[in-house]
């Protein structure tokens, strides 16, 4: 089958459909994932085609959703759980951190926990409180979890396939404001490894590292910088646990400068870890400290302020300038 042009939302939908079709053990669970197809329509049509035994509208209780998904996984199922919005994952946080993340180690590997937790995340859609957050660091810090986020339709399709096929729990952050961005998806391709970063654009003066919704901003920044004669390399991290430091290191040892960009607050965000580790790995290569662009240390602001809060082209280019000034 040739490559098809589709949105990230559609790619996720196709990927879930493929998984349901291929493996009878795959289940979709969550609030409103059935007839409605989810509030973002990611599960659109799946309830109709696979029935309510496979696509399960759950009670409104996130701890219950993840907790029963764990039980279903113990029975041999492969649940793909939808959390409706980033800010609503916290009632399930206990089950994720104390059970999902730790049960495999508790059992010394004698059971498997193939549960995918899908979380539409990030801002930029003008939503009310709790609908625009980026809590990925709160999962990446926790041992026993894997945390990923695609930035484009092809990765959305393939990373979802890989997450579902993984025998480990995977927290799958979906860049909600990019759901309708389109791209080529080749459903016959050989996929890039799930936890490997990709160089999304080559450059020589400075590396921008990002994931999910910020990859697009970084690519735009690189294009704008190119007009000014600056050559920026963009690394799409794709995985926040583990982070593919090798790819970042290779890039940084070429460009000698690194700016990390994410929507989550800078303080203790994934950028902190990347800055710390790359500085350790490439201490003598860096011409400037690793700079970080991200959210501020304030509760996610009301929608009318989110453009000021979220890293955009200007703030990324400002950091690029500051880095290049060293």
């Amino acid at each position: 089958m040739a490559a098809k042009n589709m949105s990230i939302a559609k790619a996720l939908n196709e990927s879930l459909r493929k998984a349901l079709d291929t493996d009878p053990k795959v289940l979709i669970m969550g609030e409103d994932v059935g007839k409605l197809g989810g509030v973002f329509r990611i599960t659109d049509g799946l309830h109709k085609d696979f029935g309510e035994g496979r696509v399960i509208d759950t009670p409104l209780a996130e701890s219950g959703i993840v907790g029963t998904a764990i039980g279903l996984a113990l029975r041999g199922y492969r649940p793909v759980v939808e959390i409706q919005f980033d800010g609503f994952v916290f009632p399930a946080y206990d089950q994720i951190v104390t059970q999902l993340a730790k049960m495999y180690a508790r059992a010394l590997g004698k059971i498997k926990l193939p549960v995918v937790v899908r979380i539409p995340y990030g801002g930029g859609i003008g939503a009310v409180e709790h609908h625009s957050e980026s809590p990925e660091a709160l999962f990446a810090h926790v041992a026993g979890l894997k945390v990923v986020s695609p930035s484009n339709a092809s990765d959305a399709y393939w990373m979802m396939q890989q997450a579902i096929q993984s025998d480990d729990p995977v927290i799958f952050f979906e860049p909600k404001r990019r759901y309708w961005d389109k791209g080529e998806v080749d459903t016959d391709a050989i996929p890039h490894p799930l936890h490997k970063a990709k160089v999304a654009r080559e450059g020589s003066d400075l590396t921008l590292a990002a994931y999910g919704p910020m990859v697009k901003v970084c690519l735009e920044a690189a294009a704008a910088a190119a007009d000014e004669g600056k050559s920026l390399e963009v690394v799409d991290l794709r995985s926040m646990s583990p982070i593919d430091f090798d790819t970042v290191q290779t890039s940084v040892e070429k460009t000698r400068r690194l700016v990390v960009v994410h929507e989550a607050p800078v303080f203790l965000g994934t950028g902190a870890e990347i800055a710390a580790r790359i500085t350790e790995r490439s201490f003598y290569h860096l011409e400037a400290p690793v700079l970080r662009v991200g959210g501020y240390h304030v509760p996610y602001p009301p929608a009318r302020l989110e453009d000021e809060y979220l890293p955009g082209l200007d703030r990324v280019l400002d950091a690029v300038d500051r880095s290049l000034a060293y």
Partner: protein, 386 residues
């Protein structure tokens, strides 16, 4: 690729039986407390009574009409792009006005995000409710000026805040009470069960008021419960009652009685107001994906406002002048809300660094300064450009 082609859909031996069993108890609905029939007839109830003056009855009607008008205006403002979102209470006016008017000034309310009618009863300026839906704040009103807490979006959380507040009332030796609002969907959240436990154990003066509007976005109540919700209270050691949520008189009577019980030191009550969400979940929702119009039409016959109007007219409690006067008042409210929203300024960008902590936070201060300098750099370069 159909449902038959996959292994997990092989008919489980007992699946149909199981599914059947799950639905049976829900099927026969229990008695509701009702004082005013859908046809506008006043009936008696052995346990609950209200004795209202004509003025009070007209007042309830006015409250419902104005609340609906405000709600309709907000929906329109969302369509016009003035609000980012609106959660309509259409159909739930009686539940909200009935319970809201049962309150004393010193009682306290913990709402969800849909209690615009209760806010109205508390004297909260309706335009205050719109800030968060416009995206200029996350609520921002002072909960203590009307004893009406901020809207809470995370489902169920506020039931615990209400319980804690009620525990505080006991400690203070006061005899006020608290009402915690929540939805049928919220009843599944662990927090709500914990609120039941804490309030029972500490005998806290709190009324749990569930508006069972039959839907949690696209999920009907069968996805949340197997038997009517009001029955849940008993297992936690306090009474539960189901009331006709489209009957403003019954909602008033039942809530008043629960509040009095709380004041007497007898602890919590669960009130399940059986009503219907006539509109979409919010302006972002498309109910045609998951429910039929028939259902809605059946409930339109039970409209809470129409039934009180019929009663007022039949009993000659309200005359034509009252109704036309109210229409004028409605339009004025609509206009005032419209103008207030359109005039609502965007907050200054610096505002996001304010009100994060009462005692300040060094990192916020540092970021505020950096942000200000960054903002200023544009002004500078704009000047340079001159």
């Amino acid at each position: 690729m159909t449902v038959e082609s996959t292994a997990a859909t092989r008919k489980p031996r007992r699946s149909s039986k199981r599914a059947g069993a799950a639905k049976t108890p829900q099927a026969s609905e229990p008695q509701l407390v009702q004082l005013l029939t859908p046809e506008g007839e006043r009936i008696e109830h052995p346990e609950y009574e209200v004795d209202l003056t004509p003025e009070e009855l007209r007042g309830l009607y006015r409250d419902m009409v104005l609340t609906r008008r405000f709600d309709a205006e907000a929906t329109a403002l969302q369509r016009q792009g003035e609000l980012g979102l609106w959660a309509s209470l259409l159909g739930q006016e009686a539940a909200q006005i009935g319970s809201g008017r049962a309150l004393r000034d010193d009682d306290y309310v913990f709402p969800t995000y849909r209690e615009h009618g209760v806010a109205w009863c508390r004297g909260v300026d309706p335009t205050n409710l719109l800030g968060m839906f416009r995206g200029v704040n996350h609520g921002g009103w002072d909960p203590n000026s009307n004893n009406f807490h901020l809207y809470t979006i995370v489902i169920g959380s506020q039931t615990l805040h209400a319980t804690g507040y009620a525990m505080g009332i006991v400690k203070d030796g006061a005899d006020s009470a608290v009402v915690a609002y929540f939805g049928d969907g919220a009843s599944s959240q662990g927090d709500v069960a914990e609120a039941f436990t804490f309030s029972a154990v500490y005998n806290a003066p709190v009324v749990f008021f569930c508006q069972n509007n039959q839907w949690a976005i696209s999920e009907p109540t069968e996805k949340q419960m197997r038997v009517p919700l009001y029955q849940r209270a008993q297992g936690f050691g306090f009474p539960g009652v189901r009331v006709d949520g489209n009957d403003v008189l019954a909602c008033l009577a039942v809530t008043k009685s629960a509040l009095e019980r709380a004041r007497r030191g007898e602890g919590p009550t669960l009130v399940e107001a059986y009503t219907y969400r006539m509109g979409a979940h919010t302006t972002s929702d498309d109910p045609t994906k998951y429910r039929t119009d028939d259902e809605r039409q059946a409930w339109e016959a039970k409209d809470p406002i129409q039934r009180l109007k019929t009663y007022l007219e039949k009993q000659k409690i309200a005359d034509e002048a009252f109704f036309t006067g109210l229409e004028t008042e409605s339009e004025a409210l609509g206009k005032r809300v419209r103008e207030a929203v359109r005039a609502m300024p965007d907050p200054d960008a610096m505002a996001m660094f304010e009100n994060t902590h009462a005692d300040g936070h060094a990192l916020v201060d540092e970021e505020r300064a950096q942000f200000a300098a960054y903002q200023a750099s544009f002004a500078d370069s704009a000047e340079e450009g001159n």
